[in-house]
Amino acid sequence: MKIKATLENYVFVLPAVTIFAIFYIIPFIWVLQLGLYEWDGIMPTKIFIGLSNFKEIITDKIWWQSFGNAAYITFIALTFQNALAFLLAWACDREIRMKNFYRLVFFLPPVLSEVVVGLVWQWILDGNYGLLNQWLVHLGFPNLVRNWLSDPNTAITAVALVHSWKGFGWGFLIFLAGLQTIPRELYEAARVDGANAWQSFKKITIPLMIPVTVLVVILTILGTMQAFVLIIAMTGGGPAYHTDVPTLRILASMRGSSRFGYACAQGITFGVILMVISFIQYRFSKKART
């Protein structure tokens, strides 16, 4: 009877395990394996080259430049995007009019298609017929007019800000949920004890929001480092390599150069770096909480 029950359980689990194995585990193992080979994605034979792909990655300046670009976009997301998300969540958590409407509006950008957002912002930032430049001229700042996405001085920042605009809604939602879990009694008790708004914020809100902030920070880093669609829609990685990011480099190795092995090695390196960042962050946050 026990064996029958066990078998039955396995039968229920089997389809999910099979699907998971086919679409996640086996491809993952193949990627690990392919990283050690030179392969063009067409020939049935692959050439084993050991760790050569990984050695090449270490000296690949463009790869590390793309990492720097992704890190810059992530920095903007961690600071500007999350600060904005927190402030708006904090505002919506208070008793203000039409707060449900604001919640809806703030969560609209994340649900929009990244390609659509990219193309709309490309149109707004266009150097020739873009809305931003037209507004700048109307407002009396013609000296600020430029081609925001083709100028190497502004391209990456423009992409980072659009990415932040697109992504702050997620942070807003998580921060808002976190703020709503803080018991109101704590604020009332603090008020009775004579604490002002700043003191309540500093001594109650911030400490209790640390776990939520850690979650938002980890999600922001992982999400932003892998940003891809928005960039390809807005600049395609250009001008030159100024908005290139690791995922675009992986795609270029695979599709542009037909170097599947190298692309897999890049993917593994990228994944390991993200895991290390997340782990370090997790350890720091654990320390901060204790």
Partner: protein, 437 residues
């Protein structure tokens, strides 16, 4: 209770099995006395015309032909590679990418050698094509690809990539609308007028790097000749050679003269086509497929094509041209003979004329040329000046092409000098050569 649970388990298993078989593409094939030919392609604009041809073919020969469209081209490229790995290639398909990828498909045994069919009836099929269109699908003795010499594909249409100019805007600038610039100096001179008139100059999809590569190679042929370009690809001439620096300097000169449109370095070809079709740009660097695109965007657009204005008289100006799209027959197809028979049919004179009229692309069959629109004929005339990396017998390394193209973008945005770019490209070339050795 346990019976119900068992039925539930079995039902769950059956459902999962069906789901898996569907997603893995293991659905059964229906038996039929006549074979069905399956063709995979990526050409959204040609889909209705292909379907029409398939209908005519079925009515005439009783063989059903399914044209399956997989777009965009990037997705198609991956689909074909994945199908090759899974031994699921259709009877007929096209290959996108560089010639070395094409060679890999042949070496892996995925593509049928069409040479015997081309040579039937005293080369009747072979001779019906423009030689340069066929050359794209040909491998010769001494090529660097290691493929058995032969013809491995049939061109459906051809293309040339050259300059086009807006005649109305030419008039507006006080220029002769029937005389495009003949020399590079004249071209730059027009740039100054464009700047004064606050119009956009040259637009092109230089955000998608291969089009920069195309123009750079055009000028490389004009400045140093074919042999030196090929020698560079073989690694015998460095990119730091003065002639290559001269090629790179042309982009700096174009930028300084004002002939290049604002934001050109991140411009995708679709945007460039919109700007030119909406009469906001005086010049465009585009392929002959633009005739169809411009017609759709602005049927009244008055424009003509011309060769990129030459820099030197030492060597002729060369443009990229040849097969726009070609089809190959799967060597593992069960319907090889029927597939070859079908592939021959749309390349015949009448079907080619229909395709040219329906899709505004240049026919690959040279006998169908007299039936095409005049703008298209101006593109066709340039076939004499056409060349293509796929017929050079040797391919440049992809990282070198990328470095050259991104380097040109850096020159245009004023970040690097032509010499710096040449040195950077040469460093990458040497690295790739060392790896190959």
């Amino acid at each position: 209770m346990s019976v119900r649970r068992l039925i539930c388990s079995l039902g769950f298993l059956v459902f999962s099995g069906l789901f898996l078989s569907n997603i893995l593409g293991c659905s059964g094939q229906k038996g039929s006395s006549k074979p069905t030919i399956t063709v995979w392609h990526w050409m959204t604009d040609r889909e209705p015309a292909f379907k029409e041809l398939a209908g005519w073919y079925e009515a005439k020969y009783g063989v059903k032909v399914n044209f399956d469209l997989y777009a965009p081209s990037d997705a198609y490229l991956q689909k074909v590679r994945a199908a090759a790995q899974g031994a699921n290639l259709p009877d007929i398909f096209g290959i996108l990418g560089e010639k070395r990828d094409f060679a890999s498909f042949i070496k892996a045994g995925y593509i049928l050698d069409l040479t015997p069919y081309m040579q039937e009836n005293s080369n009747a099929w072979k001779d019906s094509f423009f030689s340069k269109a066929l050359a794209v699908n040909e491998f010769n003795l001494g090529d660097s690809y290691g493929v058995k010499p032969g013809i491995y594909g049939a061109p459906i249409d051809i293309m040339t990539i050259q300059m086009v100019y807006n005649k109305s805007l030419f008039k507006q600038l006080g220029l002769n609308p029937n005389r495009p610039p003949q020399t590079f100096a004249e071209f730059l001179e027009i740039g100054k007028k464009i700047k004064e008139a606050k119009l956009q100059g040259l637009v092109s999809g230089w955000g998608e790097i291969w089009m920069i590569d195309c123009l750079a190679n055009n000028y490389a042929f004009n400045i140093m000749g074919k042999d030196k370009v090929i020698a560079t690809i073989k690694g015998e001439v460095p990119y730091t050679d003065p002639d290559w620096i001269k090629v790179l300097s042309l982009f700096k000169e174009m930028q300084e003269s004002g002939i290049l449109a604002y934001g050109l370095v991140t411009m995708v070809n679709k945007t460039a086509e919109q700007l030119f079709a909406n009469e906001r740009a005086v010049f465009a660097f585009n392929g002959s497929w633009c005739v169809n695109v411009y017609k759709g965007m602005n049927p009244r657009l008055d424009y003509a094509a011309f060769l990129p204005p030459k820099v030197s008289d030492k060597y002729p100006m060369a443009i990229w041209g040849g097969a726009g799209s070609s089809f190959m027959v799967s060597a593992r197809s069960k319907n090889k003979e029927e597939a070859v028979k079908f592939l021959r049919w749309p390349t015949e004179r009448d079907q080619q004329a229909y395709l040219a009229q329906a899709t505004n692309n240049l026919p690959a069959n040279k006998e169908s040329l007299d039936q095409i629109a005049s703008v298209l004929q101006s593109f066709a005339k340039a076939m004499d000046s056409a060349t293509h990396p796929r017929i050079w017998g040797v391919s440049e390394f992809s990282p070198v092409i990328e470095a050259l193209d991104k380097g040109i973008q850096s020159i245009i945005i004023g970040e690097k000098t032509p010499k710096q770019v040449a040195e950077q490209v040469q460093r990458i070339k040497e690295r790739e050569l060392a790896k190959k050795r």
